[in-house]
């Protein structure tokens, strides 16, 4: 039983990081219908900036954490301004390909820094002892990561629901033409969506970096694993990203906890999300919480 509970808890920890990674993805998709394949690279960039500020800049972790969120805010915003603004109204494939191109460019830039070719790890900020909750345990780093994740997600949801900008963002995602006619600047909303996504990516990067250490390959892989998560949740739903992230995390833990080693299976945690992804696409393509699109000729 305690094994089961531990799997669930670990799943929630991993899942909430997926949720945070998926959040940025959803933000961009929600407002501008762009699938950002370069998200993993932005996550990595966020982690590296946090590390640079903390270790080489000598700032306290929480400060550099927020500062790096600020940096990626402007980074992502300028990415949108430079590369994606021109492509408004172009076919989807162009937009996807631009983000793929962007991925390569960011790769190139990161290879210019020391982070491209070697490993780093954050100094340890939290107590090394685990927190034992009955039969299960969780580390301080993980706990703090989960808490930050939920705070951020809460903030973003609040922002979308209540603030004027958030409401205008939702309006844009609903109907661009109509929102333009009521005086909302659609390009500005797009820029802001990217900026917020950049922020959340930096936060995710900071947390992942603290848990796994800084390895470029590991970090940018998160840009791909978020696909099953956001599809399960519904591409345009923040709540969906959270729920699906946690479900996916728990499923992965169950897979490696119960499936691996039986019937000669191994490494199922890596492939199961994609199988689930295919199944969802076949039977419920808009995910758990996504909006159904109705098309007319």
């Amino acid at each position: 039983m305690s094994y089961f509970l531990q799997l669930v808890l670990s799943g929630i920890v991993v899942g909430s990081i997926y949720a945070l990674s998926g959040l940025g993805f959803v933000l961009i998709y929600k407002s501008s219908r762009v699938l950002n394949i370069a998200h993993g690279q932005i996550i990595a960039a966020g982690a590296f900036i946090t590390y640079t500020l903390t270790v080489w800049g000598g700032l306290p972790l929480y400060l550099s954490f927020f500062l790096s969120m600020g940096v990626t805010f402007f980074l992502a915003m300028s990415v949108e301004r430079i590369f994606l603004r021109r492509l408004i109204g172009e076919p989807i494939i162009s937009v996807i390909m631009v983000t793929i191109g962007l991925m390569s460019i960011l790769d190139g830039i990161i290879y210019l820094t020391p982070f491209g070719g070697s490993n780093f790890s954050f100094p340890e900020f939290f107590p090394k002892t685990p927190i034992n909750l009955g039969p299960v345990s969780i580390s301080w780093t993980q706990l703090v990561g989960v808490i930050i994740t939920f705070i951020l997600i809460g903030l973003f949801s609040w922002f979308f629901k209540k603030s004027t900008i958030g409401i205008s963002m939702r309006a844009v995602s609903d109907d661009q033409l109509a929102s333009m006619s009521v005086g909302i600047s659609v390009p500005r909303v797009f820029g802001l969506a990217w900026a917020l996504a950049g922020m959340s990516a930096a936060a995710a990067g900071g947390i992942i970096g603290n848990i796994t250490g800084l390895n470029f390959e590991t970090l940018h892989a998160f840009g791909i694993i978020v696909f099953p998560v956001v599809i399960l949740g519904g591409l345009d739903s923040i709540v969906g990203a959270v729920v699906a992230g946690i479900i996916m995390g728990v499923i992965q833990q169950f897979a490696s906890g119960y499936l691996d080693g039986k019937w000669g299976l191994n490494g199922t945690a890596d492939v199961l999300p994609y199988i689930i992804l295919l199944i969802i696409l076949l039977f419920k393509p808009h995910g758990l919480f996504g909006t159904h699109e109705i098309e007319r000729v």
Partner: protein, 364 residues
């Protein structure tokens, strides 16, 4: 139809049949014939190093794959982020047979044209299967479905012992009229084989686009609801497009396995899929010539960057990171710049150039 069948400076078509002709003038046909002849003859006139022959072979294999990708992404408008996996299906079909029957089994060494066809058919089967979600899905969702196929393919190859868990499976040398194709002739031999395959694929697609099946692809891309109303089944058309793409990819995979004399998972990863998409875009989506320009441009760019890196390494030997970072950087920049400034790709330059020559000395 203009009086002069050799030169036409404008549009003189008077029936749809005429518009559908592959060669508008005799002159076009002659130029094409000379060009093909030149392609067949030049390796006999010049001594080419193995490296460049390999590069050329590799580019042409990519052309076969891109013809397929262009059908599904360019003509039918369905984004495929898993094309390398289809190429891999082809290569692993061959590898599977090699592993089951021995890598120099007579099937592989003597009946290689048949094996290539088989690779294509298996590719088509998988293509059609992966295309099934297209009966329900559209746009982005479909793209993600192909992405997940890519990931599942990689995992499967890496996991199953029958595929040597992703490690290279060797494939024997082929026979050609009694003799084994030796190492010294290997690249030249495959140059001719691949060239013929490329020409066949090019002609096949050119002809396909003249038929109702080809046109229905375009119709579904432009407006699938409207196509539905005209009696085209959009879902089946999409599955058909995927199967076709799978076929070309499979043939490319078989060629790849033969040329490299083995199949290993590294050649069929997500990274390669992205590369293929980039080639299709840079070449020009929805054009046949684009399928030839794209691979050539991207592969040669890669090579040029490598040369630049080597050259620059003489001045800054301690900074290898700087030099190697150029590769993804230029790759990304080329994609982005093309999308921003020439979304119709190199094929568009080709079209402009041709029109200019045709109309010379008149101009717009």
């Amino acid at each position: 139809m203009s009086a002069n069948r050799w030169l036409a400076t404008g549009n003189f078509f008077s029936s749809y049949r005429e518009e559908q002709r592959i060669f508008a003038t005799h002159f076009d046909r002659a130029v094409f014939a000379v060009f093909i002849l030149a392609l067949l003859v030049w390796p006999m006139c010049f001594e080419v190093s193995n490296k460049y022959m390999l590069v050329i072979d590799n580019i042409m294999i990519a052309m076969v794959a891109i013809i397929g990708l262009n059908l599904v992404t360019g003509f039918a408008g369905l984004i495929s982020i898993g094309h390398a996996a289809f190429v891999g299906v082809g290569a692993y079909t061959l590898a599977f047979i090699a592993r089951q029957m021995g890598d120099s089994h007579i099937l592989i060494t003597h009946f290689w044209p048949g094996m290539l066809l088989l690779c294509g058919l298996v590719g088509a089967l998988f293509g059609g299967f992966v295309g099934l979600p297209a009966l329900r899905l559209k746009h982005l969702y479909l793209a993600i479905a192909t992405l997940s196929f890519q990931m599942i393919f990689q995992w499967t190859i890496n996991f199953l012992p029958i595929f040597n868990q992703g490690q290279t499976i060797s494939i024997g040398r082929v026979q050609w009229f009694g003799g084994e194709v030796a190492r010294s002739d290997h690249y030249l031999f495959w140059y001719y084989v691949i060239l013929i395959v490329v020409i066949m694929c090019g002609l096949a697609v050119r002809n396909l686009l003249r038929t109702r099946y080809g046109r229905s692809l375009v119709a579904v891309r432009d407006n699938d609801r409207a196509a539905d109303a005209m009696g085209i089944h959009p879902g089946m058309t999409k599955v058909f497009a995927f199967a076709l793409a799978g076929f070309f990819a499979g043939v490319a995979g078989g060629l790849h396995a033969y040329l490299y004399r083995g199949a290993g998972i590294e050649s069929f990863t997500l990274h390669q899929s992205i590369s293929y998409l980039a080639m299709a875009i840079v070449g020009g989506l929805g054009t046949l010539t684009g399928s030839f320009w794209g691979p050539a441009a991207i592969r040669l760019l890669d090579l040029q960057v490598e040369n630049l890196v080597e050259w620059s390494a003489r001045f800054m030997p301690a900074n290898m990171n700087l030099a190697t970072a150029l590769k993804p950087l230029t790759f990304g920049l080329v994609i982005v710049l093309f999308l921003m400034f020439e979304p119709r790709g190199i094929a568009n330059w080709w079209r402009i150039g041709r029109t200019y020559v045709k109309l010379w000395p008149f101009r717009y």
